[in-house]
Amino acid sequence: MDGQEMTSETILSIQDLKTYYPTTRGIVKAVDDVTLNARRREFLGVVGESGSGKSTLGLSVLRLVPPPGKIIHGSIAFDGTDLLRLSNAEMRRVRGRKISMVFQDPMTSLDPLMKIGGHIVETIRLHEGVSKSDAAARAAKVLDMVGIGPERFDDYPHQFSGGMRQRVMIALAICLNPNLVIADEPTTALDVIVQARILDLLSDLREKHGLTLMLITHDLAAVIERCDAVAVAYAGQIVEYGTRKQIGGAPLHPYTQGLLKSTPNVRLVTTKSSSIAGPIPDMTNPPAGCRFHPRCAFAMEICAKSTPAVTRRDDGRIVGCHLYD
């Protein structure tokens, strides 16, 4: 399969990744042959419905796929090193320090018995062994960066609102100056106004610290608005990839087109918003050939028979669809 080209600019290179979950109903192929690159300081958005495997993709990078799930194939190269070949101890040193993650539900992502300042202090001390006071000072600073004042340092998580808790999560994610931050649906559990603020915060921090940010979400509009590059995930695979202008302006894959049409966005001229017909595919037994073909308005005979090759076009875009063979 023709993938993206790797340059020295590439900080993360996921190649042919397969992450499966064995269940009593069958093997769920959450991530099924995914190749995706992220460049340094890039803001990458990975968009997909629930069940597309996008969350599993994020967890796979950090090797935190919950058992019984397992990464069974592929490589994940970060800054030149294949993360899948590292020992557990080495991987632990990567987590939090080089790559960190912001999780979806801020209500449950913090230890209810520990003060929020304590969360950050602990993380810093366990990675860098500095003194308590040094760590506390740094913690206060990073909390300030996300807009939480020092007077709240000793408060418990339940004393914060959802949006504030997510800021704490972000603070935790950047407190050790990582190179890559993966944000898995960071705003889904928050209300709309807070969502925008959190995304703004993430963008700002990215610029200020030169981070690579990988935003995993189902919100295509948000991604087109802010991200540099966009990858569209469907049924465990990446079906399209391009810059935000390319995807937002002229989406190639029928699924992307459908997503765009069904996304309410005040800036788009189209007045009609429609949804994509058909059910989400069963991940233990995905459709043969192109996985999207049962729901595709442009489906041809060949679509049910063979899986389209994911190819790189001249303009740098990548798409997997028989329309463009």
Binding site: L62, L64, P66, P67, R92, R93, V94, R95, G96, R97, S100, M101, F103, D105, T108, S109, L110, D111, P112, L113, M114, E122, T123, L126, H127, Y156, H158, Q159, M169, L172
Partner: protein
């Protein structure tokens, strides 16, 4: 009725009057000799309990049951406490390890232990220990609470505590030695239940998001486990408190096996003499103890959870 307590006290040949008198005294009949309905008897009894009057023992010269119970209670409390410590030590570790190594051989083995340990009939395990460690190896005393001839000044009634408070080191050593086998017996049998509780609690906590988030920060496993344990501890403690009844039952069986002079032995003794008042009193005391423990557990739970505290 077989075992009519009144008849067993006065003998088969007592006069009618004497029998009636006694019945009146026991509250079984009212002033005129008509049998009091059961619910009225029960109401009387409750009223008395609140006044601290559990009635008088039917034998031993009518000594108040309450006093008898208070004599025997500390021994049971001491045994229960030590048994509890042992069962927590074993049960908690087994549960935590089991949860952490879920679905491995260790997990299966520990779960099996949980099932089997409770089925180990306490008297038999006690006797096994007696055979092995006391009779054959002579490491520990066979029975009793303290060496004969030794005496501990009564402050709390708990020998270990009292001997420390009075600086009585020989008594301390002897009490501790006598505590080993009974506590182990009680502790091991109850630990199975606790290990299952702990395991379930830990699994519940370990599956929560903040644990994954902590792992995503690269925190070492032992720190993760510590956090999980802290969070699981409150529900575990609560559930253990609810198992106090189990502990009490176990203590009774342990006492009779090791001739431990507590409520269990008291119970056994009074059954033999058909001393119903004492039996009733003991049962009431047990009920009160269990309720108290539940209350205390509730309070501790409320105190330890910062979400409720603030």
């Amino acid at each position: 009725m077989p075992g009519d307590p009144v008849l067993s006290i006065v003998g088969m040949h007592a006069s009618e009057e004497h029998i009636l008198e006694l019945r009146r005294e026991l509250g079984l009949v009212d002033v005129n000799g008509n049998p009091k309905p059961l619910y009225l008897q029960f109401a009387d009894y409750l009223a008395n309990v609140f006044r601290g009057n559990l009635g008088n023992s039917l034998i031993w010269g009518k000594r108040p049951v309450l006093l008898e119970v208070l004599d025997h209670l500390p021994a049971t409390i001491e045994l229960t406490i030590w048994g509890f410590f042992v069962s927590i030590a074993i049960g908690l570790s087994a549960g935590v390890v089991s949860a952490h190594r879920r679905a491995t051989i260790s997990d299966q083995a520990l779960r099996l232990y949980g099932i089997v340990s409770y089925a180990l009939f306490i008297p038999w395990i006690g006797m096994l220990f007696q055979m092995l460690f006391a009779v054959n190896l002579g490491l520990f005393p066979v029975a009793g609470r303290i060496g004969s001839g030794l005496y501990v000044e009564h402050i709390t009634g708990l020998y270990v505590v009292d001997s420390v408070l009075t600086g009585n080191w020989t008594a301390l050593y002897s009490s501790l030695r006598h505590l080993v086998l009974p506590s182990l017996t009680l502790g091991i049998v109850i630990s199975g239940v606790f290990s299952r509780l702990s395991r379930n609690s830990m699994l519940e906590v370990l599956s929560q998001d903040f644990i994954t988030a902590a792992r995503a920060r690269g925190l070492p496993e032992r720190v993760i486990l510590a956090h999980a344990l802290k969070n699981a501890f409150i529900p575990i403690l609560t559930m253990m408190g609810l198992q106090f009844a189990l502990l009490l039952t176990g203590a009774i069986l342990t006492e009779t096996t090791f001739s431990w002079p507590g409520m269990g032995s008291f119970l056994l003794e009074r059954i033999t003499y058909r001393d119903y008042t004492s039996l009733q009193g003991s049962v009431v005391i047990f009920a009160i103890m269990i309720s108290l423990v539940s209350l205390v557990v509730d309070v501790i739970y409320a105190y330890m959870d910062p979400r409720i505290r603030f």
